[in-house]
Subunit: 206 residues, 2 copies
């Protein structure tokens, strides 16, 4: 019996996350996207959130190329994806490529925090999307050289993720056993003791 | 006339950010830390939030070394900071170093998203801290080789930020003209048209 989107959301959000803002747990990375478009106002809101991320020297190294369905940019981002990702992500009404300026603007020195800061801004983006009832799925699986060429990204910028953005659809939309399995299985995370240490690899014991 | 912490918060949060979760705008990076300790329960909550960040292959490459005031780890993280940062950050009751495992666990191949994902988890962490009434300040200004040696971080891990975590104090606590200036001036961010493009460097026009 195929699970519904509602049932899937219950599975993905079944973990007890006591005392934490609900938005952190609400967000998960769906792959089944509905045909429904994302409004310009909601697009503005997700980037307005990203805008307020912290960054080294307040450089704000992040840049986003946004392709809405039907545009050349949407097609180019989709064409850059590896076939497995393209198979489901091309249905997303918005495809976004995040890149980061690799040198500081104030003195042209290398910014070793450019990609770290892009990761933060993209986290802000996907959390705000979840707050608006949208779903997102970030992907590392794309051809960087193809994306650089098709989207004319200067060499001075390093790549982050491709972000599929839209409304969640029923899992059956995926029409692929492996994708449906991933869409419907519980999420897993390491226990705190595996990544919060008082000394290296000695759990802080929270 | 010295501004109070309350006045500073009004300045830092004066921007209109219509339609966005308040937490994104509420968080800013203070430098004046009060002597008040952070409870273990609040520490648990900020790492519980970080736990739910998305990551490439769900690798969760982030690791955090946490020094609470009075511990050797707190002293070692403080000693790794450049003097300018140490001058104010050593007062923070919690100093955290974030690092990322540079290779995937499933096949030992390089994980080019390790630092990007650490940036996302650290964004979750600082947002949850803000929701708890805590303040955070991430720093890039520390001696990596010193931190690696003092805290025994394996070469297989790349560095993220040092995060000072605690309660905000009055700006006058900083007792330094330059620091007080930074603490009390408005925040600045690029306009959306400077980083949200439809095609490279052509504003999407949100």
């Amino acid at each position: 019996m195929m699970k519904t989107a509602r049932e899937v959301n219950e599975i993905k959000r079944a973990h007890v996350v006591d005392g934490v803002l609900p938005i952190f747990h609400h967000r998960w990375s769906a792959r089944a996207f509905a045909d429904r478009e994302v409004s310009r106002e909601d697009l503005r809101r997700v980037f307005e959130a990203a805008r307020w991320a912290p960054s080294s020297y307040n450089e704000q190294p992040w840049r986003y190329i946004v392709g809405t369905r039907g545009t050349e940019t949407h097609k180019k981002v989709a064409d850059s994806l590896v076939p497995f990702n393209r198979s489901w992500a091309q249905r997303a009404p918005v495809l976004i490529l995040g890149v980061a300026k690799a040198r500081f603007s104030h003195d042209n020195s290398p910014n070793s925090y450019a990609v770290f800061d892009l990761g933060a801004a993209s986290a802000y983006l996907v959390l705000q999307a979840a707050a608006l009832g949208l779903t997102t799925h970030q992907m590392a699986g794309f051809d960087r050289e193809k994306a650089r060429k098709l989207l004319v990204i200067p060499e001075a910028y390093d790549f982050g993720s491709v972000i599929a953005l839209g409304y969640q659809d029923e899992p059956e939309r995926l029409a692929n056993e492996e994708l449906i399995k991933r869409e419907t299985q519980p999420r897993e995370r390491k226990a705190l003791d595996k990544f919060v240490f008082g000394e290296w690899e000695k759990p802080l014991g929270l």
